[in-house]
Symmetry: C2
Subunit: 307 residues, 2 copies
């Protein structure tokens, strides 16, 4: 069950030759989403071969480096004859501004396009076995982060135990695993709970967008498998992080530690660190015991199940 | 005297991994301009190290693939603390739409930014020794092309003749070359025209943007040193060129031949030719005897004087 995160753009406010503006592609078992779409996102999708069948785009805030890739992408899908609907999710109070951007000189595509404001704390998207929820962030503008949260999976099926109980190999196994009780030929009833363990947690992937470290991020990221956090600056520029409402790598690591996440990926790097981001990784690792990665354009993270 | 043209983006309506959206950087002896600025232009400028000190951007028309790089660039200059004014020149009747694009979610930079509509047949920009003129094109929208036209240069100074006439080596040479007559110590007057040849033409660089072949382009390109022409399609897609108001390579070559230009560069290539544009070059060369180049991202053309 794929949950693949491809970093399309990992630059801070200003792109560099190495780093394109903010954008993340997520493929969950064929469902494709974008989280932010800065200038150049469509070419990065081509370059890293993520596929283009995106149904939903989740925007964290309306700063240019997170949305200036949208008008061109909306247009390209039109040229490509797209028919599937596209939904762009935006923070509360920003729908009109995003529509202004999309429609200034175009933005009336042949396919259904809707722009919807999310509500922090609620699901922006619900599917059968996962949802994408918005949560509050602190970037001194109308901003949110997003958490992709999978539903619990079935417990493990204890095949040996089932056989020991006399369940015949075949469809009865599937029915038991799916939660049904099964009556054997001799009249014995085997209950699902006898052969199926407790539900196992699904995966959670959290993306903050630009933000100061804050409690709502800790809450959203509690126990997450992957936390993609603003890591714009090294500690020496902590004051600048406060001033611009971003986070240092160390601050992001403290959030990751407090939330008990498994893997922290730092992104939205200031152009200072275009060449070498080792300092950021080192500072984060000094504060957080879990896995730390500093994102680069083209980085692919496959999120595994924890159990 | 540099006249350097750097092709930043050479794609048709849809970019490809190889080709970014339309944009051309021109450096004339330190004066820097952009002609169109599709999505991704600022990163292409970094990638090809053109420099960022652009004073004027000349927009041929308001289709996304020619202007969606503007909002991000305007913003980046702001982040960089730009103070120099920026003028964006746009076709008649399109100022309001471009401002809508720039100001949808930003576009109020700290430096002076003005958007000015050009008038076909008139100079959009005048400098001491060159101007940039707009001319009509045919793209079924409000569109123009641009010609950068240098003033005539001084004629050649005939040093041997000057010495034979008894002019002393030194400042008198410069005065004669600049058009002054000079009186020698013996009272003889040497006229400038005796030692300076006729004025020599400056260079002309013409950029059509997207267009059908048309008479106004031929007029603007008459005798040009460089014609950068829409060459979206090969001849086999001539019908599609008519339908979308573009040109085939052969049609562009016919314009170049009729206008008697020295060097034709084809750009705005359909994504069909991303991998191999040899067909376009061959078709153009069959129709036009001058130099033919099919542009690629990063192509640099230094325009030489013809005499």
């Amino acid at each position: 069950m794929t949950l693949r995160v491809t970093f399309l753009g990992t630059a801070g406010a200003v792109p560099t030759p190495e780093r394109s503006s903010s954008a993340i592609h997520v493929n969950r078992e064929g469902d494709q989403f974008l989280f932010d779409a800065g200038e150049g996102t469509q070419r990065q999708m081509m370059r890293f071969a993520t596929g283009f069948a995106v149904s939903d785009i989740f925007v964290t805030h309306l700063h240019g480096d997170h949305v200036y890739g949208l008008p061109g992408m909306v247009e390209t899908w039109g040229f490509a004859g797209r028919e599937d609907p596209l939904t762009i999710h935006v923070p509360p109070g920003t729908r009109r501004a995003l529509l202004a951007l999309l429609t200034a000189i175009g933005g009336d595509p042949s396919y259904p396009l809707s722009v919807q404001e999310v509500e922090p704390g609620r699901a922006a998207l619900e599917r059968e076995d996962f949802q994408v929820r918005a949560f509050r962030t602190d970037h001194r503008t109308r901003s949110v982060g997003y958490a992709l949260v999978e539903a619990d999976r079935r417990g493990r099926f204890d095949r040996e135990q089932a056989e020991a109980l006399g369940v015949p190999v075949g469809p009865a196994f599937s029915r038991l695993h799916a939660g049904e009780d099964v009556e054997l030929d001799d009249g014995t009833v085997v209950e699902s709970t006898e052969v199926v363990g407790p539900p196992r947690p699904g995966r959670t992937m959290v993306y903050t967008g630009d933000t100061r470290p804050c409690e709502s991020v800790v809450e959203a990221a509690r126990g997450a498998d992957l936390l993609v956090h603003d890591g714009t600056f090294a500690a020496e520029h902590a004051a600048r992080a406060v001033e611009t409402a971003h986070s240092t790598a160390r601050e992001a690591a403290a959030v990751a530690a407090e939330a008990g996440v498994r893997h922290l990926v730092l992104t939205h790097l200031s152009s200072r660190y275009a060449g070498d981001a080792g300092q950021l990784a080192a500072e984060a690792r000094a504060t957080f015991d879990g896995e730390v990665t500093v994102a680069h354009d083209g980085l692919v993270v496959d999120v595994p199940f924890s159990t």
